[in-house]
Amino acid sequence: MSARTASVLYDVPGPRARRRYLLAGVLGTLGIAALFWWVVSTLADQGQFDGSLWAPFEYNAVQQRILDGVLATLEVFGLSAAGSLLLGVLFATGRLSDHRPVRAVSTAVVQFFRAMPLVIMIFALYQAVFTAEPMWGLVVGLVLYNGAVQAEIIRSGINAVPRGQAEAAYALGLRKTQVMSLVLVPQAVRAMLPAIIGQLVVTLKDTSLGYIITYSELLYVGKLIASNSDGYPYIPVVLVITPIYIALCLALSGLARWIESRGRRGANRRGASAA
């Protein structure tokens, strides 16, 4: 530990503290190794690493089904991401409208859908409207819920844009709609991009609710594979599916970090040239 990583919680360690940390480190490593070994040996004792349980994954048909499941998940995610961003912008501007009724309605809608459990909404939509196409029940539910959350994110972004921006735009003779769509929303979206993509990760994770309404996304496909194969390989399926979800989510948050660093670089450059 160097002084650089000094934390608010503890001082830079002296020789005795360093020895204590080393001891804690060794004990911690042993503990974690023991935990890991326990998990693996429990799985092995129950025969979960037997070749026969993992054999299904060697078939092309099963691999194809997993791939189809990933694609179905991504399809729902793409549609709901686009829809929720659109709805988010719409309701964010609605909540900032000059007209009282528009404001009231947008506020009520946003607050309602933000407080609703997604499962309840998706199940009601599936039972009432989309009995034949679970995909659209899932997409509409995701769009309504995430749209409401994105609306709040974008609204706080718009509120954070300096007042002078809107005043300057009005002074140049732009209309209300133009000020919003050309000046405020682009800056708000850019400033709130990390939060927006964070919510998109939540959207991606929530596509797995399609499992409940029997939409054949990744998790449901996994369940089908596990329940139709010899020996019911639920654990191998979970061990295969979880990394796929984690990789998708990490890819999306990696994208967020990349865009954020790019945005900051651009802002710095512009700031420098303006000064």
Partner: protein, 216 residues
């Protein structure tokens, strides 16, 4: 508007409501405990523990909640672990929410300026005093608002448990739908129950925020 609360439907609804409350309260407790332990790992001076905390949070924050429920429901029986689906649901929810609690706590501790601890130490305070009198009270204030949104999300997330053999409000919605009542009437009542829970939790947290607020 309303479902006919006839032949025991009302007591069904009340049982579901209590099920949601029980599940959420227990999971909130365990998530808080797990989150505190994980946050302690993540800010500890021991690199191994920090790495473990980071890895754990990365793993469980990026796993869908439905997949966690799926895992505890179908994986544990394969390992000869037989626990009730309620216990399994509490485990899944607490592990999922615990990582979010950890992130909130860590962010809260990071908001306390380094100078505060340095000033406390230069006044002669020991480690325990610095932590309990200076750092944690300030971190707690910064943590309340984001912690509120984590614990408002928890009862909403608990609805997924209804799909995995736990009796709560989502199960009520499913049962009444199967009995053939109007779907949007059922939705109205279940939604109302969730709104009541959300607003109560929200009210508790905003009261806490008001009590701990300081003029800056």
């Amino acid at each position: 508007m309303g479902i006919p609360f006839e032949d025991g439907n009302f007591s069904l609804f009340v049982r579901g409501f209590l099920g949601t409350l029980e599940l959420s309260a227990l999971s909130a407790l365990f998530a808080l405990l797990l989150g505190i332990v994980l946050a302690a790992f993540r800010v500890s001076p021991v690199p191994v523990l920090r790495a473990f905390g980071t890895g754990w949070v990365m793993l469980f924050r990026n796993t869908p909640l439905t997949l966690m429920f799926f895992a505890v429901t179908f994986v544990l029986p394969r390992l000869d672990v037989h626990i009730s689906s309620f216990t399994a649901a509490v485990a899944a929810l607490s592990i999922y929410t615990g990582s979010f609690v950890c992130e909130v706590l860590r962010a809260g501790i990071n908001t306390v300026p380094l100078g505060q601890a340095e000033a406390a130490r230069s006044l002669g305070m020991g480690f325990g005093q610095t932590l309990s009198l200076v750092v944690l009270p300030q971190a707690a204030r910064a943590v309340l608002a984001p912690m509120g949104s984590v614990f408002i999300a928890l009862p909403r997330n608990s609805a997924v448990a209804g799909a995995f053999n736990v009796f709560e409000l989502f199960s009520v919605q499913k049962t009444l739908t199967e009995k053939g009542y109007a779907i949007f009437a059922i939705f109205f009542w279940v939604a109302l129950a969730y709104l009541v829970i959300s607003f109560s939790v929200g009210a508790v947290f905003s009261a806490l925020e008001r009590r701990t607020a300081v003029a800056r």
